[in-house]
Symmetry: C2
Subunit: 445 residues, 2 copies
Amino acid sequence: MYEEIVKLAREQRLNDLRKRLESINSADFPNLFEELDEDVVLIIYRVLSKERAAEVFSELEPDMKEKLIHYLTDTELKTVIDELFFDDEVDLIEEMPASVVKRILSTVKPEDRKTINELLAYPEETAGTIMTTEFIDLKEDMTVEDSFRRIRETGLDKETVYTCYVLTIDRKIVGVVDIKDLLIADPQALVKDIMNPHVITVSTLDDQEKVAKMFDKYNFLAVPVVDKEKRLVGIITIDDAIDVLQEEVKEDFEKMAAVHPNDESYFKTTVFKHARNRIVWLILLMLTSIITGAILNNYESAFVSLPILVSFVPLLMDTGGNCGSQTSTLVIRGFSRDEIKLKDFFKVWWKEIRVAMLVGIMLAGFNCIRILIQYGWNQGRLALVVGLTLLLVVMLAKSLGCILPMLAKKIKIDPAIMASPLITTIVDSCSVFVYFQLAVLIFGL
Amino acid sequence: MYEEIVKLAREQRLNDLRKRLESINSADFPNLFEELDEDVVLIIYRVLSKERAAEVFSELEPDMKEKLIHYLTDTELKTVIDELFFDDEVDLIEEMPASVVKRILSTVKPEDRKTINELLAYPEETAGTIMTTEFIDLKEDMTVEDSFRRIRETGLDKETVYTCYVLTIDRKIVGVVDIKDLLIADPQALVKDIMNPHVITVSTLDDQEKVAKMFDKYNFLAVPVVDKEKRLVGIITIDDAIDVLQEEVKEDFEKMAAVHPNDESYFKTTVFKHARNRIVWLILLMLTSIITGAILNNYESAFVSLPILVSFVPLLMDTGGNCGSQTSTLVIRGFSRDEIKLKDFFKVWWKEIRVAMLVGIMLAGFNCIRILIQYGWNQGRLALVVGLTLLLVVMLAKSLGCILPMLAKKIKIDPAIMASPLITTIVDSCSVFVYFQLAVLIFGL
């Protein structure tokens, strides 16, 4: 496919090229551009229709956008910017370096600059930052026929025409009409008689993740955004909601693996930035491990007189860590899927305690038998110490795996940081302490 | 809100109740029902219109559906089932126990039974299982006016009317028309002149996750599903795609925390099932820890003569585990976001090696200085052993964190199982070995 396109471009057979490009979805252009030389990219980009050029542009990665802007003339850039939806324009401005932003803003129509500045002013991660101000508004006393006329006149530039919003004179939202309802209604019927007056809205300052989750729950295609005075100021469409959901999942995975979250993709992130994103947590977690080491140190006389004790340390540490991660992951994900709430604390804990008993008894039993077989039937005390510690460690790990994320949620920090790595190192300290304390007691060391 | 509804229901003020319920979104009914007694639930459910009843029904959790079916008369059940979309009917049949399925199937119209059986026959997790067979089909030589008539006549029961599919006589798909395009076209224009002939389709046997990701990439609202003969057999709508994405994320989180994936929610899963989902991995991982223990055992004479060595074991194990999880999580997520591909292996490895060098040198440096301060300036050899091991362990952990998921992908098993817990235990064995080997060499033990 690539060869053919490159050939058409190099031979300046622009009409054939335009035709060939028609069959390529806008979302496939970023991959195409990555593979081609810049001069070919530019030829391709210039034969696209202006609507298509804007569509393709908004699909590109920030660095490709920047390159392209660099090569476009002011007039070409203006055409692209004019065609972009407001939310894409705002994204662009947020992504580009200051010098490029200046050039972009100089091409924006003065009447649009106000809207963009307003959109830029919303705090990060709020509904305001992902909404677009382009939607179809109807009035209650319009007929269905009027409505279709309005959609035809204004609809083409709107991000979605599937849902129309019914506003009062002072732009307060009083209803929504699905285009499906307009299609089956009598052309003379009034909008107010067919609209659904039970509108679910979100506020400009609502958290974008909360809003994105509503799409999943309510199967919305778009949701209206209102300001403090309850006036409709924009809508959020489902494609942007999905992006937010994906972004939040990425962030959660990173946090749960002790990596500082990062907006950029893996390859776009430099080695230094990768190192920086990881070192902070590694050092923090290392401090906890040093405490575990100090505890071990404390029991030096115990393990010098009974060295076999040391060989169970990895088993206890790893099992504790794994049990803790299992629980903390389930609890953290339960929170973000709204399956688990803070008020369920005791319900979750009680469930985990019972799971821990079952799992702990199995693991302890397995190891007691193994020890007796491997080290001889006279090693009953060793089996007792290891088995008992395992049971206690599993119960402790599962308790902490449930308590710490709950606590984080309670004091309003992201429970995701209470994931595997932190739980593991904390459980490690406890396991080593419990283990040697029991050993000292039972063996009388 | 609940009190008012309960009052209206108990007092049999059904008209007021119906009115009150109108303002509640169908997606909010599951929470409402969870809070109410079964007799009140039944009163509420019976006052809903049949369309609403079906909508609410498909939002409920399986156990609530089962309860409701138990209380409904055969006629009532038939009304609900008739109103459901085929994909929701299939979900229902898959979720319910055999006795309930029998009752459900007895209410299904004979002509629908064939469709349902076909849908049930698709292999799990394929596009066929999440598609619905209800869509709007047009012919190429219809006019725009004809199309609107067809949408009006058949559209109301279709899951989406926003995109219409243009079929040939033998039901092969030749184009799609967005309702937006129909709205602005001349009523006498022909469908073939306004349709988009570049249709992206999926096959019934495509993996559902792959299909769901296409929604994110192409911003689809629905995607057409074709059979082996390229005939259109159904469509997948965005709400079902989002459910798949969410489900896959849940599964990934579970796998990466060494929990066997589970379809049910946290609370719906019994304690025994929770234990069963966790014990398998715990035992597997334990076996690896036992190996680490055996390695430690091997160096008994070393740590008995120099007990301080033991206190660094947690530090080395934890740091190795954390570094490994960081890398493996980024690589696994990179795979599932299509940012990283198998062919990038050396690119990723080289990046990780450099990150590991940076991070390793920092951690090693930090610890060397700490050891010299804490244990005295004559402990140069100890500092050297710990520092060198740390550097090696970090590089090893980051390498394995990249190699193992890549290897899993290569041999076509899910890379998610190569996540933190497995990497951690494997890295543990290696770190302990490297550490004591270095200690024996440098201290001449």
